[in-house]
């Protein structure tokens, strides 16, 4: 494979924001996750839990509730008092409707999917009608004294349970009046000064209301009489979320200590018909508050302040007991946040509201395999570029020569020109960027830094020629048919002739830049594309999908390459297919056309196309054996996939030049060190 010097970078201070709400959609098996900075991400649970869409965040849009409505419509409500509908095709906000009740704390969609309820800060519960293109205010229910923090519909749609501070009200939907008001004890069988906040309620079809509150209790109420039926004290801290399954035989609650409890309806004795709710399983996968839980037919989903999204399939519900039934923890982003300028050894880090430009350090020492070489020159923080306005940065890129930086937010596009004199760097903004460039999902510069390619969320691709200090719009590739599909990933060939773009559903389109027209389309595959790259001389397009399949397509020949057909016939190694995290970046060696370098969060791999492929019986992960092993054994066990797990967790890995690699790592401890304070745990002996 060769010897490389590796720049191990750990100064990317990436801290994801905590998860606030989670909503599961049964029809399409998708999960909508909203974070505390306003970002909403959509995960496709059947495509290997890949994040296929996301809506960038906004400082004023702190979501407190997220719901799916009939027909794949997504609504969210937040503390700015607005109900927002998201357009999942065009990846933007359709509209925002102000509810005029102050900050909105909770939202619930009726079981029929035609009505929407919001609970507001001023204690009012407002009913909205969902029309095909908008929502319309219908009426107010009786106003309560304190803020409505949780809402739940009865499955028949006649009654609504609303949890507030120190009490729960049950409303009748037709009249809008409160039928019952159930007072909740502040502390389990004792007195307390702190108010009891009802964080979640759930209404079952037999009239039972389940409430979870800040005293750590799970209580079962009878809504017909308004009385307490059963009381479970499960935690010494708040219980912050509850989600009931569709069959109503199990529900899951999440606590502030990071524990997730599973409750099930179990019969009292083995052949009696009487059933009762029993706390069956505790799961401790989080360290901080679990603020959102969801219950899919086969799995428990939880997310909280520690930024992990944990999906725990339930063993009794899973049909086939294979690797699909394992725990999935999604911590690292599924998109690339780092771009690299190879010529000047610069790295551009993308944060939510600013960009950082670093120059890599250098060393003059040499050593052998496994040595750590001392730096003669430290890494330099060259630039800290803050964005104006409340919106998050969607994507950013630095040109390979290092003289252009471009980034995009929802409403604007920014292009900067960098000038280097000795050790200083000066920045100059290119003004009057055209409006159609905003809301770009992916930005890419050509290898010679003369052209800029922008993929917008409307489905069009823009080609812009960069001149000294200004730009000229060359061409726009419009989307194919009438469908609006956002283009997520771009790749350009090093010779500048070909541009590959992948959308969310259809295949990968390859455009000819010289003639400015569509060259061919790679046949679509039912899993989304996670990484794209075009090889230097052979112009082979390498595509990685979310189910860990890697395809190689020859652009001049318009067909899959021989190697790709061979590996598809044989199939990948089973351990390769069982990897959790998607491949986010593919690159190539300039002098070795048979090598493909790719990485995901926990490994990086160099695929050598000249070596034989491994079958299921060979060892996939075989690091270099010690030199006293015979050559025969080494040759027998050598196969095409050279995997290294030295650097993990990897956020980015690239080849800088023939003998240097750069690996950007983000240890999990460094992320946890910057999170909000967790609940104190008392352990014996400390």
């Amino acid at each position: 494979m060769g010897e490389f010097k590796v720049h191990r970078v750990r100064f990317f201070n990436y801290v994801p924001s905590g998860i606030r709400c989670v909503a599961y959609n049964n029809q399409s098996n998708r999960l909508a996750v909203s974070r505390t900075d306003g970002t909403v991400e959509i995960y496709n649970l059947s495509a290997n839990y890949f994040q296929e869409k996301f809506f960038p965040g906004h400082e004023s849009r702190a979501t407190e509730a997220l719901c799916w409505a009939k027909g794949q419509r997504l609504f969210s409500a937040g503390l700015n008092g607005e109900i927002i509908e998201y357009d999942l095709q065009a990846l933007n906000i359709k509209y925002a409707v102000d509810a005029f009740g102050g900050p909105i704390w909770s939202m619930a969609i009726s079981p029929h999917g035609s009505q929407l309820l919001v609970g507001c800060e001023d204690g009012s519960v407002k009913l909205f009608q969902i029309t095909p293109d908008k929502i319309q205010f219908e009426r107010n229910f009786d106003r309560q004294k304190s803020r409505i923090l949780s809402l739940s519909w009865h499955p028949s749609g006649t009654h609504v349970a609303a949890g507030s501070i120190d009490y729960i009200s049950v409303f009748d939907v037709k009249s809008g009046s409160a039928v019952h008001k159930m007072l909740v004890d502040r502390q389990y069988m004792s007195v307390s000064k702190r108010k009891c906040i009802i964080w979640g309620v759930a209404f079952l079809s037999d009239g039972t209301v389940i409430s979870v509150d800040s005293a750590g209790k799970v209580q079962f109420w009878d809504s017909a009489t308004g009385t307490l039926v059963k009381n479970h004290l499960i935690a010494s801290a708040d219980v912050q979320s509850i989600a009931v399954s569709d069959q109503e035989d199990s529900f899951v609650v999440g606590t502030a200590e990071g524990t997730v409890f599973h409750f099930q309806l179990v019969s009292v004795t083995s052949n009696s018909s009487e059933k009762q709710w029993v706390r069956t399983k505790p799961f401790q996968h989080h360290t901080h508050d679990v603020r959102a839980v969801a219950h899919s037919p086969t799995a428990l989903i939880s997310g909280g302040t520690d930024t992990h999204l944990v999906i725990r399939p339930l063993m009794e519900k899973v049909e086939v007991k294979n690797y699909d039934a394992a725990l999935r923890k999604i911590t690292f982003p599924h998109r690339r946040l780092i771009s690299c300028s190879k010529k000047r050894q610069l790295l551009l880090f993308q944060f939510a509201h600013h960009l950082e430009l670093w120059r890599l350090g250098s060393t003059v020492a040499t050593g052998k395999n496994g040595d750590t070489l001392p730096l003669s020159k430290d890494a330099d923080h060259l630039l800290h570029l803050k964005t104006k306005g409340p919106e998050n940065i969607i994507c950013s890129c630095i040109s390979p020569c290092g003289s252009w930086i471009a980034y995009s937010t929802t409403s604007r596009f920014f292009l900067y020109r960098l000038n280097y004199e000795h050790d200083n760097i000066s920045l100059q903004r290119v003004s009057k960027m055209p409006a159609f460039l905003r809301s770009a999902l992916q930005i890419l510069f050509s290898e010679d830094s003369t052209k800029l390619f922008v993929a917008s969320n409307q489905g069009s691709l823009h080609v812009i020629r960069l001149l000294e200090g200004s730009f000229k719009h060359l061409h726009t590739f419009q989307p194919q048919s009438g469908t609006v599909e956002s283009m997520c990933l771009l790749a350009v060939s090093p010779d500048g002739n070909w541009l590959a773009a992948s959308g969310t559903s259809a295949g990968v389109h390859v455009y000819n830049i010289k003639h400015l027209k569509l060259h061919c389309t790679v046949p679509s595959y039912n899993f989304p594309v996670t990484a794209l790259a075009i090889a230097p001389n052979t112009n082979n397009l390498v595509i990685a999908h979310s189910d860990q399949q890697v395809f190689e397509y020859s652009i001049p020949d318009k067909q899959y390459t021989e190697w790709s057909r061979t590996i598809q016939k044989q199939g990948f190694h089973y351990l390769w297919l069982q990897r959790d995290t998607p491949i986010t970046h593919i690159s190539f060696h300039p002098k070795r056309p048979m090598h493909i370098l790719l990485h995901d969060a926990y490994m990086f791999c160099i695929i050598d196309k000249s070596l034989p492929l491994p079958n299921d019986k060979t060892l996939l992960y075989n690091p270099l054996p010690p030199t006293n092993e015979s050559d025969v054994i080494r040759r027998r066990t050598a196969h095409a996939f050279k995997i290294s797990k030295i650097y993990k967790p990897l956020l980015f890995m690239d080849l800088l030049d023939e003998r240097t690699l750069v690996a950007v790592e983000r240890p999990l401890d460094d992320i946890i060190a910057q999170l909000p304070p967790p609940i104190k745990k008392k352990k014996f002996g400390t």
Binding site: S60, L79, Q136, F137, I679, K680, K681, T686
Partner: protein, 260 residues
């Protein structure tokens, strides 16, 4: 004893005695009656004259002059006419004055304003812009929020109107919002955020630092290890920076002296 303040006399001034000016008395009387809206001629005028006559008696022993009714009436009418004329003249003078002032103001204003053609452009641009921008999303440079929506409902408390004005030749757009509503909205949002912060991280919640949380296990190991974040890297940053700068300068100075 309470001293009563001298009260203003209720007798009309024109009835007061003024020695040696009977004619002026009549004038005043006539004027007064004019002002009071009483008929200047006829029965009402007479009693006043008689009163005046009575007042005269106190100071003068002579008998009052004999005046025929006709002459007195004629004189009174003359007086009226003269007064009316004077009032009319005054009015017209005032009117003219006001007119002249108005014209002066208009001229000054015209000098301040831009020439007509630019004003025309502004008004037409404003109208077309309001129509165009109803569908597009425009960024607000001054305000964060932009609100443009219709509600088909009846019971709404406050509707916020938005006016979009575009200035010519600068390509900037801004929004006008009612600040009173904005303040109320911000205050409520702040209160909501404070509530969440207080209920999750405020007093009474059992929270600890991340360092202590991660170091719990280290404390219970058979060979006790240090805390997870044992070093405080943020300690003395200013001191460290000063030291670095001093070192660099000292090295440069050392190089210079060693060269010499």
């Amino acid at each position: 004893m309470v001293q009563l303040r001298p009260r203003a006399s209720r007798i009309p001034e024109s009835a007061m005695v003024d020695e040696g000016q009977p004619a002026s008395e009549e004038e005043e009387a006539a004027e007064h009656s004019l002002l009071l809206g009483q008929p200047s001629s006829g029965a009402a005028a007479e009693p006043l004259e008689e009163e005046d006559g009575e007042g005269d008696d106190e100071f003068d022993d002579e008998a009052p002059e004999e005046l025929t009714f006709a002459s007195a009436q004629a004189e009174a009418r003359e007086e009226e006419r003269r007064v009316r004329e004077s009032v009319r003249r005054d009015k017209t003078l005032l009117k003219e004055k006001r007119k002249r002032r108005e014209e002066l103001f208009i001229e000054q204003k015209k000098r301040k304003l831009l020439p007509d053609n630019i004003l025309e452009k502004l008004t037409t641009a404003g109208q077309t812009n309001i129509k165009k921008s109803s569908g597009k999303l425009k960024e607000a440079t001054l305000q964060k929020k932009k609100e443009e929506y219709e509600k088909g409902s009846v019971s709404k408390n406050a509707k916020e109107k938005v006016q979009k004005v575009q200035s010519v030749g600068q390509n900037k757009s801004y929004l006008a919002l009612r600040l009173k509503d904005q303040d109320l909205r911000d205050a409520r949002q702040e209160a909501a955020k404070a509530f969440i912060q207080n209920s999750l991280y405020g007093p009474g919640t059992n929270r600890t630092t991340v360092n202590k949380f991660l170091s719990l296990e280290n404390k219970r190991l058979p060979v006790k290890k240090a805390a997870a974040q044992f070093l405080n890297n943020a300690w003395g940053t200013q001191k460290k920076q000063n030291a670095k700068r001093f070192k660099r300068r000292w090295m440069v100075r050392k190089m210079k002296t060693s060269k010499k």
